[in-house]
Symmetry: none
Subunit: 398 residues, 2 copies
């Protein structure tokens, strides 16, 4: 529901700590990573506060980073979409402008009939990818500026920026998502995208010619054509002056999309905390993103994820010194190391504030949180709860 | 969903006991008021039945009495709105007619420039309020009958009833909600409300003249312009012949809006129970409203709220003597005495009926209910559950 009519002025501060991929599943009889980790500080917050489990999108749905974070900030992740092309641009700090059309590119291998034989061109390394990107930068299109940026290994970013007419982004993937067939023609889904389709077609043909001499990466596949979405800012939606601390560009990019100020911080949690301390007095909502929990989960590294959680736990006292009126600790989705991937399992959450209804939960873990006072809820309601605890919402109706 | 196609005839009876503002938060280490209270009868019902927590509107949203009760009776409180003006009229048993425009009025203080200096005119007492209302009753408007009724202290009710053309109620508040500025002009949001806006403008100007000699209450502010909403009755929605027992006029008014028969009862719970016994045989749905839990919560009186809950508990055996097929005990929202106001915290609920799936909960309290078999649900689903347990709903689909 629209909270704007309910917003009340307040001096309170909310700290949102997002441990990426926090949730896990039981592994080797040791419980989840969060349960196996020694987390006295998180346990104390759980004991003093209210706990539960959140569904980022819906039961059974495994979220990507975009939907996972949109939900945490109270944006319905089913209604609002950050396309793959845009996420790719955000992930490398590319300065995407409104109207730009971004797509995720793969170098691939095609045979003499033009059929795809390897969608990732043998997973060439990043150095090789960068060399090939440099070659594609010679491409020139009519009325459209082209930007090609290396991402990692066989992946690159393509951005089209019109010098004349506005471009649409309703373009089907040229990536057929399987081998043994030709790449698809870029087809337009609406009138505005016809110009884009012609530009993409031209880009693909020039790429084919430029890469013709390559052994592995002799063609490109494109998918996830998208433009910057129109999203109300945290200020517009909640009257919040938000700030984001994140080591990885993608999360900084998502925060920027939502109008948060993105503060420069160093390469690790320690430097994030330093930046948090510096930014605290100027903001009433701070989003602190911690990546390592997800990275170790994706690696299938149970012990590594446990260690990452313990590192986060040790940082909690430094956050609490700032005396946030409301602190929320949760994840954007689960990444069980036993699955080495994102998963659909609901995510443990704790809220600590003076107005919490304290529940019976005394430790921060999935099994305990399943019986917590917040129950199992959609993640998109978390921001409303945080605002309520921060005394930033008036009564609804008389 | 629309339950009408599923409705089955039945002789069963449902008793809905609503302890206003029932939910609390932990206070002084004694748990909530409900947890601190000695409630052997409610505990027995909880043990024999199913329990859970309900969200009247949505997580984090603090409901007013209107949305809180609409949800309990299965009306989506976000879609259906009882405006503040209408609630004010219901709260003093004013006989509002369809088409009437009602608004909540405040006497206020303005300075010589007309700027509001006190939105409540120093919170004048009710006697003084009544004296001023009497003066405003001299106001006459073209083609519109005016009713001014005292409410309490600085508050009054304004009702406009057209003698000719239909009135709209899309009128912005004249109350600027802050001091140091002029009252707002009443502006119309649609064509039908233009006539209303002119009448309101005329009323405000005449009020200013009449009150010019007053020291404190020398002006009026108006807000919450509204008309009786169009709501399906309990009979239309559920085939129920409903009856309401409530000491306070506002709850009787809400019940009347939903087509319930409002039975006269005395000033306290004891007299409500007497009226319940008398009305029982003629109705298949009875709503019994108990106000004291909310009043003591609003007072910030933990012990008082505990005592009110214990009084309700002692009345339970007399209700059970009537052998309701389904009894629901819950609140319309939480009113923690620690906050001395309505809050967003979910509300404990118990359902007792022969067809309950008995859960592990053995006492009626917030922490216990968080682990109850009903889970955490939107309050608007409660009526459907009650109908199901009353064997008043057929199977959906073949």
């Amino acid at each position: 529901m629209d909270l704007v009519p309910l917003l009340a002025e307040s001096e309170t501060k909310i700290l949102f700590v997002v441990a990426d991929g926090l949730g896990g599943i039981d592994s080797k009889g040791r419980g989840t990573e969060l349960e196996a980790a020694r987390t006295p500080n998180l346990d104390r917050l759980a004991k003093q506060g209210a706990t539960g489990l959140t569904y980022p999108v819906a039961p059974g749905i495994t979220p990507g980073s975009g939907p996972g974070h949109l939900a945490l900030f109270g944006y319905d992740p089913v209604k609002h979409d950050i396309g793959r092309g845009v996420l790719t641009a955000l992930g490398i700090d590319f300065d995407l402008k409104p109207g730009d059309v971004a797509a995720r590119g793969n170098f691939c291998t095609v045979n003499s009939d033009g059929e795809v034989t390897d969608r990732r061109a043998g997973r060439i390394d990043s150095q090789e990818g960068a060399r090939l990107v440099k070659m594609l930068r010679n491409i020139r299109l009519d009325d459209v500026d082209v930007f090609v940026e290396p991402v990692k290994e066989h992946r690159f970013l393509l951005v089209l920026r019109s010098k004349k007419e506005a471009l649409g982004a309703q373009i089907d993937n040229t990536d057929p998502q399987r081998i043994g067939v030709l790449p698809r023609e870029p087809s337009a889904g609406d009138d505005k995208s016809q110009i884009t389709a012609r530009a993409v077609s031209d880009f693909v043909e020039q790429s084919r010619e430029i890469l013709a001499g390559e052994e592995q990466a002799n063609m490109v596949l494109l998918r996830g054509f998208a433009q910057l979405p129109q999203l109300a800012s945290l200020r517009e939606k909640y009257g919040l002056n938000g700030c984001a601390l994140a080591v990885y560009p993608m999360y900084r990019g998502i925060a920027r999309l939502l109008g948060m100020k993105v503060v420069d911080c160093g390469p690790d949690l320690d430097s994030e905390i330093g930046a948090l301390q510096a930014a605290w007095s100027d903001h009433d909502f701070v989003f602190l993103h911690f990546k390592d929990t997800d990275s170790r989960g994706e690696d299938g590294d149970f012990e590594g994820k446990v260690a990452a959680i313990e590192e986060l736990d040790r940082a909690i006292p430094r956050m609490m010194e700032l005396q946030p009126d409301v602190i929320v600790v949760t994840g954007d989705h689960s990444t069980p190391s036993a699955m080495a991937s994102h998963s659909w399992h609901p995510v443990p959450v704790l809220i600590s504030a003076n107005t919490c209804r304290v529940d019976a939960v005394e430790v921060f873990g999935e099994t305990a949180c399943a019986g917590g006072g917040l129950g199992q809820m959609l993640a998109k309601h978390l921001m409303t709860l945080a605002l309520a605890h921060a005394e930033r919402l008036r009564k609804f109706g008389a």
